[in-house]
């Protein structure tokens, strides 16, 4: 393992980070196909296969069985082929749920990215003390566990004791005393979207801010010398450099928001009406409320497949980056 072959003399030290970023992978490793990489990957593969292999197999096989509580307790389901899938696909509720999840994801991811980008840009323009204050605040928000965050928001939007109803009324925004935000799913989802976006902003904006800080100053300066305004600089200089990170952040956000569960489930006291079903809530409901674990599993499998399709572009891009010629 120690006899690594050096295929090339070390190149000169890269001058800047950008150059590093633009360079492809190191040349010296390309030829080796020994045992080394496999030994390195082995622990991760073992952990994934050991912890996840059997559960995934179970998940897939449950989705092909009639599997209720009785079957769960007896550990014996009845194989029904694709019946669970056909029953999902022919269920109009399911398609409403899919549409609702997609709409929620689009709005939440869009808002998250927009607001987080604006905050990241803002962070670059405020004075130093304020910058520290803002980042610390973002970190604090990030540190609040989701379950707790939901409790806080539920408390703020409470029917009788909520500060939001009181404040909106006091500010003259209308009569919100004794307003229930969760009577209509549209209003409820507005609150849930705000909560999800609020919870996601710290991670995304801190990452973006750090990324922005690494854009070479010269690039921005030279663009400005060429007469570009702030907006043009953003589009022609910043965006292209940040493209990979945007790609990651958007994909991760899609994955997370499409699976939104805790926020909805806890916000509605563990008994959401069907107007609040998203993919994960629907799957959980079918499994643990209606005890149709087969159906619930099938919904989960469909969720994963849908996500794979949606993020296909991203995954392909990632594989390309990794597999780029050395």
């Amino acid at each position: 393992m120690c006899a690594a072959v050096r295929t090339e003399a070390a190149a000169a030290e890269p001058r800047s980070r950008t150059e590093l970023v633009l360079r492809r992978q190191a040349p010296w490793v390309r030829a080796r196909r020994g045992l080394g990489p496999y030994l390195l990957v082995a622990p991760a593969v073992i952990v994934l296969v050991a912890v996840l292999g059997y559960p995934l197999w179970t998940l897939a096989s449950l989705s092909l069985q009639h599997f209720g509580l009785k079957e769960l307790i007896a550990h014996e389901g009845r194989f029904v082929g694709l019946a669970n899938y056909t029953s999902i696909f022919s269920d109009p509720v399911f398609w409403t749920v899919v549409l609702r999840s997609v709409a929620f994801t689009v709005v939440a991811v869009g808002l998250t990215m927009l607001l987080a980008t604006l905050i990241a840009l803002l962070l670059g323009h405020v004075s130093r003390p304020l910058q520290v204050l803002l980042t610390s605040g973002l970190v604090f928000i990030w540190a609040i566990p989701p379950v707790v965050a939901v409790d806080i928001w539920q408390w703020m939007f409470d029917f009788e004791f909520g500060v939001v109803n009181w404040a909106l009324t006091a500010l003259g925004a209308g009569h919100f005393i004794h307003h229930n935000w969760f009577a209509l799913p549209l209003e409820g989802f507005t609150v849930i979207t705000l909560l999800v976006v609020w919870g996601a902003i710290p991670f995304v904006s801190i990452t973006l801010f750090a990324a922005l800080a690494q854009i070479p100053r010269e690039l921005v300066d030279s663009a400005q010398v060429d007469g570009a305004n702030g907006w043009q600089v953003f589009w022609s200089v910043t965006t292209p450099i940040l493209k990979p990170i945007f790609l990651i952040l958007i994909s991760l956000s899609i994955i997370w928001d499409f699976q939104v569960f805790t926020q909805i489930w806890v916000m509605l006291n563990s008994r959401p009406g069907s107007g609040y079903f998203t993919m994960a809530v629907y799957s959980f409901f079918e499994s643990f409320r209606i005890t149709q674990y087969g159906l619930g599993s099938a919904i989960s499998v469909v969720t994963v497949l849908a996500l794979l399709v949606v993020t296909f572009f991203y995954v392909r891009q990632m594989v390309r980056i990794v597999e780029a010629p050395l």
Binding site: M1, A10, E13, P14, V21, Q25, W28, R30, R32, R33, P37, Y38, L40, V41, P43, A44, V47, V51, L52, Y54, P55, L59, H125, V126, L130, L134, T135, S136, G137, L138, F140, I141, A143, I144, P145, V147, V148, I152, W155, F161, V163, W198, I206, T207, A210, Q214, P244, I245, I248, L252, I255, T262, A280, F284, G296, V304, T311, V319, I321, E323
Partner: protein, 285 residues
């Protein structure tokens, strides 16, 4: 805009800065309000919490809620469990993920693309879908109601993300440094450990921050897997504030504040590294 800007350069810059600062303050106030409300509620005595007219500041500030929360059964045990579970899952994940990330970043090998796809795809599986399958598996090996079972579960929660981000950090370290070390007589493995590991440290810290928050705040798996109260975690402990008999808002908010504090402390310690670390990994994709 560009021309006027250049003509009145300084004043304009000052005005922009002022505007930015004001906007910054506003954004800060808006974002922080829920967090503020949590802390403020935690300091209010019971009768001030449930008021039809909210009280903006804890006028009659009291520590009663904190004392109540900490005095509840199993707080210390559950806090210790949270620490043990989070740190174990994190340590194992960091080591395992680092090795895998080195392989993906530094070696070409058959099956690498497949490995990468699996790492990404694993993140798409909703944890709620795995409750039954994971429970059945852990039951077979007698690891329900044990911290080990939860630690294993959390490995799959944080490992994929870590492999992925760490790969980005490793790629940013010039390979020449490792080569230099090898010339100096290090083994290949020695080169990784002595040269690469310290250089990726900020990235490791940033990644572990993410993992820390994930594991620290996870609820549903811990709830299902852990039955004995002395084996549960803080997030499960917090859920006991909401009962059929209503929610004890004051103690809940106090308990929540206490739960969030370790994460904030962890973050403040590593903050500097996090910001630089996150980017280094991220920009590279």
């Amino acid at each position: 805009m560009g021309t006027t800007g250049r003509r009145r350069g300084l004043t304009r810059r000052q005005r922009t800065r002022l505007l930015a600062n004001l906007t910054g303050l506003l954004v800060f106030a808006l974002l922080m309000f829920p967090a503020y409300w949590m802390v403020a509620t935690a300091f209010k005595p019971g009768r001030d919490i449930l008021r039809l007219t909210p009280q903006w500041f804890p006028v009659n500030a009291t520590l009663a809620n904190f004392i109540d929360a900490v005095g509840r059964p199993f707080f210390l045990e559950d806090a210790r469990n949270s620490v043990v579970i989070t740190l174990s899952a994190l340590t194992i994940s960091i080591v395992v993920a680092f090795l895998a990330a080195v392989a993906v970043a530094r070696f070409g090998f058959r099956g690498r693309a497949a490995f990468v796809v699996i790492i990404i795809a694993v993140q798409m599986i909703p944890l709620t879908a795995l409750i039954i399958p994971l429970y059945l598996l852990l039951d077979k090996v007698g690891q329900t109601d044990t911290l080990t079972g939860v630690i294993l579960t959390y490995l799959i929660l944080v490992l994929p993300f870590m492999v992925w981000t760490l790969r980005g950090f490793i790629i940013n370290v010039p390979v020449e440094l490792e080569e230099a070390a090898q010339i100096d007589g290090c083994t290949r493995f020695g080169a990784f450990m002595r040269v690469l590991f310290p250089l990726v440290a900020p990235g490791l810290v940033a990644t572990s921050m993410f993992g820390f928050i994930q594991a620290w705040s996870e609820y549903i798996m811990a709830y299902v897997l852990l039955n004995s109260q002395e084996k549960q975690t803080l997030s499960v402990w917090l859920a006991s504030f909401t009962t059929q008999r209503g929610t004890d808002w004051g103690p809940l908010m106090a308990g929540a504040t206490l739960t969030a504090i370790p994460v904030v402390v962890f973050f403040l310690i590593v903050q500097r590294n996090v910001v630089t670390g996150l980017t280094a990994g991220a920009v590279k994709g």
